[in-house]
Amino acid sequence: MITININGKEIKLEKSVTVLEAAKAAGIKIPTLCWHEQLGQYGGCRLCLVEIEKIPKLQTACTLMVTEGMVIRTETEQTAEARRGMLEFLLINHPLDCPICDKAGECELQDLVEKYGAISGRFREKKRKIPESFADPLIVRNMERCVMCTRCVRMCEGVQGASAIGVIDRGGHSHIEPFSGGRYDCEYCGNCISVCPVGAIMSRMHKHSYRPWQVTGKTETICPYCGVGCTLVLQVRDNTIKRVIPRIGSPVNNGLLCSRGRFGYEFVGSKERLTTPLIRKNGVLEEATWEEAISLVANKLSDIKAKSGSDAIAGIASPRCTNEDNYVFQKFMRTTIGTNNIDSTARMGFAGAQAFMENIFGQGATANIISGLANSDTVLVVGGDPTTANPIFGLQVRACSRKGGNILTVGQMKGLEYFNPVKADPFLYTEEVLLEGIVTALIGKKGLPGANLTLEAKIKDINTSLDDVEKKCGVPAKELARFVDILAASATPALLIGKEIVQSSGASYKLLLLSAINYLANGRIYLLSERSNEQGLLDMGCAPDLLPGYRPVASAEFRKRYETLWDTKLNEKTGLTIFEMMDAASRGSLKALYVMGENPAFNLPNSSAAATALRNLEFLVVQDIFLTETAKLADVVLPALSWAEKDGTFTNMERRIQRVRKAVNRGGMEDWRIISDISKNMGVKLNYADTEKVFHEIAAVSPLHRNLTYEDIEDGHAIYPYKGEPLRDVMEEILTSKGKAARSTGKLYLRIERPLFHSGTLSTKAPALVKIYSRAVARISAETAASLSLDEGDIVRITTKAGAIELPVSIDKAADSSTVMLTNNFEGQGAYSLMEYTIDPVTKTPVLEGVEAKIVKMTGT
């Protein structure tokens, strides 16, 4: 116990901390400028100078550790004088342009000068003149205002790990710049904006559009983009979101944001938003009233149900909608319509991978706390770069490396390149052999633990030596041996699984191998998730085989419980997956489809075939916020409210349930309310007074969410397994299906690029994100470019069995020479439109491996 005295107040401390922290804990504020709670010690601004007895000179409180008996005075004439002096120095160059500076009102320098003065400067030299830089579309730099606290640089390097900006030049000439000196070439997390204490680095998005004190509403909600579930604070003025900022201390993202979360909000106010229902009349979508649209949908669905049976109707739920929306939707499909034909794009990988892993390790196997990842001693990453798929989660991997953890990667991970990864980079499509090699070596090193005999029976005969791996995958045996040694020696390993491996040939067998690695290394699993409520919609029962809370539809015993609660008879037939729906639609056996907040004509592989299937339907209803590719094919389009306009909950990839809150007003209805109106018109009441009432029912119906309330969620107690009952110990046989390595040399294969700046097509409606990543490009290696004599920006035609599109090429030094990377974000130029697929028999995920592509340069461009 250390006893110190600050300003005459006796303070007892458990362990030695800095004077600043000790004062803070005692409620004494010491002024700072370069110090920031997310960054390390720096001691640069000299504003936290304090008097300490028996030390002749003033000391910086942010770097000095307290010792027994220390007597500290934080506000004396001497400290005030010193602070005034430091501020006078800063004002030599800092312009007094507060009246036109957006920071005024929340500027730390302004507040400090207001308190300590430097009423008049004694320097006669002119202030330095550096023109404000508008070279970047999103971040504006005003280096006249910079006080060189270097918070931005330390944030960029030490927390974000992007190291995109630095202090350039020296002394009075020093300033902050991205490498290019103009436009940023960075991850656009904007965390430099968050930490800048003055108006030197600011967002261009809301420049001169409001003052900090004019914000009328601050709403804390959850990001609509990926499965990490970051807390966002939406600042609103005139019913418009002006700015998105993080909150320090929030779970998951703790004061950090990524580009999508920070800059991707403008779709909410987009002029392209749907405002009124549309009904197809004589082949054209025409504006209609809500009454008209809802009664049409109700009548049409009733007719089809009567004529062709309930199972001729299907529904696609949305990983961007709230739990409440999805719950009401599946209840509508199961009770009002009477079918289990409900699924979502979680079927693209997440659902199958999770079910496979949970069968082996028990329900909740993937519900691991995100912030805990940084404390792992080893992180193994497979199947996708977490720093682009789930950026804030990716920061945990970087933090793990910084803390001395080992990062093991299978395949290229650009975002982890500077974090000392130990790499195993096999030839394209040979991961299976590599994983077998790792399993064999791990069994050799650690033996079979005997805890899960079913799993062991499946893996005990795997025998692939490191030399085999070297021969088939091109990963040197020595390097892989080191890789396995690290894994075997790890006490707290974590396994990160991305989508690419789940969408590869023999996905179930690879998942078995990954499960084996996890089992042998005694690790924990994280499944990357690209949508904000991908987990939640599965929890809510938006799956053809599972009821809310993961109770199988096929079991009469479980069904009975829901039948009692919902007061209806449930269909016992397992429904169609999203892919089976497309097949059934093109065969004609599926007559009607209700799509809520999803875009199957773009987001499913072989999307043109999906569009054809959708055209073949007798009746297609699309409920969305934009007129998507799918909505354009619909018979009725219903405009929904976006995430910022409604209340509800999202469940993130670690299965934390968090509150989504309404920030701006807009006429219209939440998704669940539209559905309940339709249901009412079909004679079945699904009435709820508000969103919270829906959640009450979820908590009553889903055994997993038993008795959970909004208060629990707001108190931060909604972490898996909540207070509910996960379904345990019902392990089924582990089925796997091996893949066929579909690779031959000299061919080009089309693969999906999952860019940091986009998520589905939603982000392309956010102008800021489009400014950073503005168009689809075919990313090829320098070798491929050379062999086809292509230059950056040349227009090419990419042709596969499924179709062809034309777009510019971009040459990527680090790209694999046998692949063409293409995103699936830009309308008319999605990679999925070029990808035919087969379905993995076990995980029911599409196999997107081995899509051969030809590239031809377009002449005359």
């Binding site: 190291s163 630095g166 030049d169 020296r170 490498f179």
Partner: protein, 154 residues
């Protein structure tokens, strides 16, 4: 990008330091030799070899005044103008360079042959005025002598 020999040289330098970041200064010297000065290409090349983010390489490089930060002539004339040299006419020599060769302090001849850098004391006060051309040392300079010297550098 560097050629194989230079890559090897930098790798070797980097091997002497505990971290790759610590090898930045000597690696930047190599890059300066190869590229003539430290510009975007040089920083990127060093960043690629050492695996140090390029913004950091640039931050380090620009901190030091003795790296060359802009394109230089093939030969670099470094003329001392500190007290002893000044008294013995270094400033006149500087004017001579300007009038005869179009070479201003910090500048470059139009043909790209010479750059002129005004140096701080090079420790040759006893034989002032003095200068360096590249790594060669010359003292007791006169206008005529400078003409002769510069003839040697094409």
């Amino acid at each position: 990008m560097f050629n194989e020999t230079v890559l090897k040289e930098i790798k070797q330098i980097s091997g002497k330091y505990p971290t790759t970041r610590a090898a930045l200064l000597p690696a930047l010297y190599v890059a300066q030799r190869e590229f003539g000065h430290l510009g975007a290409d040089a920083y990127e090349a060093v960043s690629d070899v050492l695996g140090v983010p390029k913004a950091i390489a640039r931050g380090v490089g620009t901190f030091y005044a003795m790296y060359k930060h802009k394109p230089m002539g093939r030969h670099i004339v470094q003329l001392c103008t500190n007290v002893s040299c000044m008294i013995l006419g270094a400033e006149k020599l500087s004017d001579f360079l300007k009038n005869k060769y179009g070479l201003e302090p910090g500048g470059i001849t139009p043909d790209g042959r010479f750059s002129l850098v005004i140096m701080e004391c090079i420790g040759a006060c006893g034989t002032a005025p003095a200068m360096l051309v590249n790594d060669d040392f010359y003292e007791n300079l006169t206008e005529k002598y400078i003409e002769e010297i510069l003839e040697k550098y094409k």
